[in-house]
């Protein structure tokens, strides 16, 4: 680790990030005014439903937005360096060395026709050309051992389809960690895995991260996973941050009606009817004026300000940031069940 990085200096600083899609004359805003910092060694979790913009946000950080989308404004500083507008060659060197990535489906990230060992070794050397094949291979074996792959030397002679989903995801974690990144981005890393394996993979991830002192952005729709792994949490809805705070505070005293409703609608196993959130998230093409959550919101109660004025993200007395005009009412009502 670079000694000049102190714990209070953010590793990654995203400001007013805006991601747009230009289709014809129409400009669709998919991510709007997203700002956050990631500090060295911490785990920041981003939760939200599909279409909330959580994955696009981190794809933008890595410079991997799909061709149809572009960054429409804002700034992304990684270790003090502006990432937006950086040539592809430099971005590539930052990915892999500075930032490691683990995606949801490990099968699509591995070449099915090649043995696992050489693939991983090659990926390491791509970002670190000075490493000899032998060194790179030794590094991978070592990391695989760390993430819980037994007898890595023998098992990496297999092809990807011969490995289980959990094993493949461990391989991806080993690959992402190979060049000691300061930041690991994990987008739904365990969603495709069975429950018992999920827990093991998250443990492996935690172990290897602790050993390397890497920070992590964990993207998930699973609130349980967020609680177990993150220190701070961002809740996104329809392209914006609606709540941001310490995980424990957000869970115990949600300051946005969406967060509160999401927590209430979790299937916790009781037999009683689940208080579901009515309706669906709006399409980014016709987001309501004012607050995007207003049409589904129980707190809105027909008040004009909700449908007329877009709430800005602001501090509340609980310590969390909230983008709700009436966050204080929620705090007065008390904690969510």
């Amino acid at each position: 680790m670079n000694d000049s990085i102190r714990a209070d200096v953010p590793l990654l600083s995203v400001r007013d990030l805006r991601i747009v899609s230009d289709s014809g004359d129409e400009q669709i805003v998919l991510v709007d005014g997203v700002s956050f910092d990631v500090f060295p060694g911490e785990t920041l979790c981003i939760v939200g439903e599909s279409g909330s913009g959580k994955s696009l946000t981190v794809l933008a950080v890595m410079g991997l937005l799909p061709p149809a989308l572009r960054i429409g404004g804002g700034s992304i500083l990684f270790q003090g360096r502006e990432m937006i507008g950086l040539p592809e060659r430099e971005l590539r060197s930052i990915r892999g060395r500075g930032i490691g990535m683990v995606f949801q489906d490990p099968m699509t990230s591995l070449n099915p026709l090649r043995r696992i060992g050489p693939q991983l070794t090659e990926a390491v050397r791509l970002h670190n050309p000075r490493a000899s094949r032998k060194d790179a291979s030794a590094r991978i074996q070592d990391l695989l051992q760390q993430v819980g792959v037994t007898q890595p030397e023998r098992s990496t002679r297999a092809y990807p389809h011969e490995w289980s989903g959990g094993m493949r995801q461990r391989a991806m974690i080993a690959m992402a960690m190979a060049n000691d990144p300061d930041l690991l981005i994990a987008d739904e890393p365990t969603t495709a895995l069975d429950v018992t394996i999920q827990a093991q993979v998250m443990q492996s991830l935690a172990r290897v991260r602790a050993a390397h002192d890497s920070a992590m952005i964990l993207i998930t729709h699973n609130l349980g996973l967020a609680v177990e792994n993150a220190s701070r949490i961002i809740v996104m809805y329809s392209g914006r941050i609606v709540e941001f705070g310490d995980v424990a505070t957000v869970f115990e005293q949600p300051t946005h009606p969406y967060t509160r409703a999401l927590l209430a609608s979790l299937v916790t196993g009781g037999r009683e009817r689940i208080p579901a959130i009515p309706g669906n998230p709006p399409s980014p093409r016709n987001r309501p004026q004012g607050c995007a959550f207003a049409p589904r919101c129980a707190l809105h109660a027909g008040r004009d300000v909700c449908t007329q004025k877009r709430p800005e993200l602001r501090p509340t007395v609980s310590g969390s940031l909230s983008a709700c005009h009436f966050a204080e009412e929620l705090l007065m009502v008390g904690t969510a069940s």
Binding site: S50, G165, D194, Q200, H221, N222, E228, R271, A276
Partner: protein
């Protein structure tokens, strides 16, 4: 309910085997379902839990005659349908229907939603437009939306359409294969509530397959846990969740993510280190 009533669906000692032919050497046999017995009572929900490769998908496909059954029997409303042919199968389709996990791939993208729900009625030769409208209304899809194609629908709306289609022939039994697993949290709750409402108003019987134990605990009256082709634990939902007798069930329960910060802290350290692997070639998709 009296215990003497004939179960709606009764699976007895079912065994399904796949033979894997090798180019050279002996062929190997994989027993995907190994002596499974289950029974469903009218109006109740049986939750079937298990991880990928445990044989639960094979078991479901067996109910529709899609697997090589070696021994055992499947009875629907007392009638043995284990090896029945096409005609009997068609008759069966008005008693038992399936709802699939992925609402994105289960619906024909070229048809309108109305046509999708109408199709089973057309095939049965009793299509009436009003009936389709009523079915869609039941699951919360308006007549205006029914003119659109599924691509314009969200995941939750598509799953509603999948349910309406499954209900078209007024079956008694729904086989639900991970029906909410692909949906967002807030939408999962909507669909689970809808399934509970439909069960009550139509007296439906559910076989609800899921790997999500919180969902099973919420919806199921009885639970069966499947592991490596066998049922390792079975009982009322209450009993299985409160006092799991089997070691595998206990490890599954321990792996449910915690639902609050304090519970999470308590659990953070403890988790079993056992990755099940049901042979190298699981026959499931």
């Amino acid at each position: 309910m009296s215990g003497s009533e004939t179960p709606l669906l009764e699976i007895d000692d079912l065994r399904v085997q796949y033979k894997r032919k090798r180019l050279f050497g002996a062929s190997t046999v994989l027993t995907a379902v190994d002596g499974v017995s289950l029974s469903l009572q009218r109006g109740k929900t049986l939750g079937l839990v298990g991880e990928s490769g445990c044989g639960k998908s094979t078991l479901m496909r067996s109910l529709f005659g899609l697997t090589p059954i070696v021994s055992g029997s499947i009875k629907v409303m007392g009638e043995d349908v284990t090896g029945s042919g096409r005609r009997a199968r068609r008759r069966l389709s008005s008693r038992m229907q399936m709802v699939f996990q992925d609402p994105y791939s289960a619906l024909d993208p070229r048809m309108t939603v109305h046509e999708i729900v109408a199709e089973p009625l057309r095939l049965a030769g009793r299509y009436r437009a009003q009936e389709v409208t009523d079915l869609l209304d039941r699951v919360g899809v308006t007549a205006e939306m029914a003119r659109r194609k599924p691509s314009e629908f969200s995941g939750g709306q598509r799953q509603r359409v999948g349910i309406a289609r499954a209900l078209a022939l007024s079956p008694d039994i729904l086989i639900l294969d991970e029906p909410v697993s692909a949906l967002d949290v807030s939408i999962q709750a909507q669909v689970l509530n809808l399934l509970a409402d439909l069960q009550q108003s139509l007296q439906l019987t559910y076989l609800f397959v899921s790997h999500d134990l919180s969902v099973i605990r919420h919806i199921a009256d009885d639970v069966a846990v499947m592991y490596r082709g066998r049922i390792v634990e079975e009982g009322t939902s209450e009993r299985v969740f409160a006092h799991p007798a089997d070691a595998y069930t206990r490890s599954l329960l321990a792996a449910i993510p915690a639902m609050g910060p304090s519970e999470a802290r308590r659990r953070r350290a403890t988790a079993a280190e056992s990755e099940p692997s049901p042979g190298s070639a699981a026959p499931e998709a």
